[in-house]
Amino acid sequence: MLVGGHGYSNPNANWLDNRGLWLSYGIGFLVLHLTLLSIPVLTTSTAWTLTNLLHNLFHFVFLHILKGSIWDTQDQGRSRELTQWEQIDSGMQFTSTRKFLTSAPVIMFLLTTFYTKYDNVHFIINFVSLMFVLLPKLPQFHEVRLFGINRY
């Protein structure tokens, strides 16, 4: 499918800038969390940690592992090697979408540490998962591939 003839050579760069992202993100997260909370076997702490881990997993896979876009773009393959995060707003840093997507895992982490009553084990697990999600978002890590993982 040929896209981008209308001025944006890669529609993937701007699709998250639209109205409704924040609310839909919140709703999606809430649905996930309430589903996990309603499983009777899990304690509240486990449910919160699991939510945080799953959320960060989705984040990591969809934003930092998936590369390219779901169409043939008109930018001669420049975006094929870029992860979704790197494509947002065509590489411009510190836009609203990027700030929102950076702060979402942080807020999740703070809430989780509170609801797990600052337990050490939970903290370490949540912190490691947070680092996985936060580090790739730093501007210094733009287009950096460690150890050649996910380069092509």
Partner: protein, 512 residues
């Protein structure tokens, strides 16, 4: 009074005749969130099913040892999003697309991978064709004249204009177009898209600046990119944004050297076909005079369709044609033919005759298309001695206003200008677009649904194109079923107050 939204200028002489009423109501927040959730779901489901199942089309045979032809991720959209709705587009038609069109029915038994013809045909009310003045007819004075011309001049010239492709009819049509539009001279080409894409490079080059509207058509964007000029985009129909752009361009000059720009162009369209908005021409002319820029107006959808005499946005606003430097238009929409033209001063058109890529390398317009244009243009101008042209123009205006007001009364969000013949109805979610198209086809109404990526993500719409060939009964029939669909799908998103006054249809001919 121009509405103060969207940045119109303060001290512009107001036209006393018609108020400029444009509306671009924003999507409600909850609808935007649910649209996003719809996208997440379809992406998730598609992703999961692409991992688990390989579709039949992706299994390549006898290719052992070869790299796969299609990257699975890049064909994701067309296989897992577009395929689900594919039955709403590319429906084959087997009649002239006038006010009614006959479609070939087809069904899919495997969710959109393959289609099968049922063998039946349905005649539907056509709300999707750009048939603004109703000249898409297989019979009538225009088609008869065109058929005669084929016998006289042949089906095609098989040659570019500068070689053996110029026939007398081309000179006739250029003179007629220049008279119609009100300029000194005009040049015509066989293809409307190519008129933009291949002529802009001969008009501008590196070192020129182009202020291009956000929602310009793909042909303009392609032409501007091919030309090598610097393109800066201003917000759609927003005069403050354009003023700032021009001001900065003149003050700061070219990016690093700060030399003055060779030429500054403003490229806009007369009527934007996706939004249904009309360009603010008087204000742009004032800006162009202030900042000494050149103006290029693409009247593809407005020539013949707006204005009391059908001469386009120039006529609609009462602007002097000499103020617009380059007038471009196509014959595809209102004249029922094919091809495009550029009109301007004699010196400019002579430059194009020598330097235009389309003139030198592309085949010239076939004589039948040219004759169709000549006869339809003469009808619109009233040169055939009847009142037919005027009646059609008025009928189109009444149809578009009636339709739009009725839709607004239902509470449906329509965007764009009240006077444009294009009425986009906002539906937002892809599933709703598909549902509306399918429901209406079942009730014998053919409409066009457009979604992402042809439109912005949050602006999926059904785009109705009104025609002078539509009668009030047809419009009422369509409106009843659209209201039914609106109730079923919850399309009454508008939060503006709905007027309770009865919308009457002004009959054409009663005014005179």
């Amino acid at each position: 009074m121009s509405t103060m939204q969207n940045g119109s200028l303060k001290n512009i002489q107001q036209r006393e005749q018609r108020p400029f009423v444009e509306s671009f109501e924003k999507i409600p927040l909850l609808t935007a969130a649910t649209t996003f959730i719809g996208f997440y779901l379809i992406l998730l489901m598609g992703y999961v099913s692409s991992i688990i199942f390989t579709p039949k089309v992706a299994q390549e045979r006898n290719r052992k040892g070869y790299v796969p032809l299609y990257d699975q991720f890049e064909s994701f959209y067309s296989r897992y999003v577009y395929r689900r709705l594919k039955d709403c587009w590319n429906i084959p038609i087997c009649s002239c697309p006038g006010s009614e069109v006959t479609v070939k029915d087809r069904v899919t038994h495997d969710c959109g991978w393959t289609f099968e013809y049922t063998g039946t045909r349905t005649t539907c009310l056509n709300l999707g064709s750009y048939n603004y003045l109703g000249f898409a007819q297989a019979s009538g004075p225009c088609s008869d004249a065109a058929a005669v011309k084929i016998k006289e001049l042949g089906c095609a010239t098989a040659s570019p204009r500068v070689e053996f492709g110029t026939q007398k009819i081309h000179q006739e049509i250029e003179a007629l177009t220049a008279e119609f539009v009100g300029t000194e001279d005009a040049i015509t080409f066989g293809m409307g898209f190519a008129t933009n894409a291949l002529n802009l490079p001969s008009i501008m080059s590196k070192g020129c600046l182009v202020a291009s509207d956000e929602k310009n058509h793909a042909s303009l964007i392609l032409g501007l990119r091919l030309s090598g000029a610097t393109i800066r985009v201003f917000k759609h129909n927003n005069m403050e944004s354009l003023r700032k752009l021009l001001h900065n361009a003149v003050v700061y000059g070219q990016p690093r050297s700060h030399r003055p720009w060779k030429k500054i162009f403003i490229v806009v369209e007369g009527v934007y076909s996706m939004e249904g908005s009309i360009v603010r021409l008087p204000e742009i002319v004032q800006l162009k005079r202030e900042y000494k820029a050149y103006l290029y107006v693409d009247e593809a959808h407005s020539i013949g369709a707006v204005g009391p005499n059908g001469r386009g946005v120039i006529d609609y606003f009462g602007v002097d044609p000499k103020d617009v430097d380059i007038l471009m238009g196509t014959y595809t929409k209102s004249f029922g033919s094919a091809g495009g033209y550029i009109a301007g001063t004699k010196a400019f058109i002579n430059h194009l005759r020598a330097n235009s890529h389309a003139n030198c390398y592309a085949t010239s317009m076939p004589s039948a298309c040219a004759e169709q244009i000549i006869s339809s243009m003469k009808i619109i101008m009233g040169k055939d001695g009847t009142n037919e042209g005027r009646k059609r123009i008025q009928q189109l205006a009444h149809n578009s206003q009636y339709f739009r007001r009725k839709l607004n009364q239902m509470g449906i969000i329509t965007i764009g200008n009240n006077d444009s013949p294009v009425v986009p109805m906002m539906v937002y979610m892809h599933s709703k677009i598909a549902n509306v198209v399918r429901r209406l086809i079942k009730r014998d109404i053919a409409v066009v649904g457009v979604g992402f990526p042809a439109t912005p993500l949050m602006e999926g719409r059904i785009r109705f194109c009104l025609s002078a060939a539509h009668t009030k009964e047809q419009l009422d029939y369509a409106l009843t079923h659209i209201e039914e669909a609106a109730d079923y799908l919850g399309l009454r998103y508008s939060r503006k107050p709905r007027s309770k006054e009865i919308v009457t249809y002004e009959e054409v001919g009663k005014e005179e």
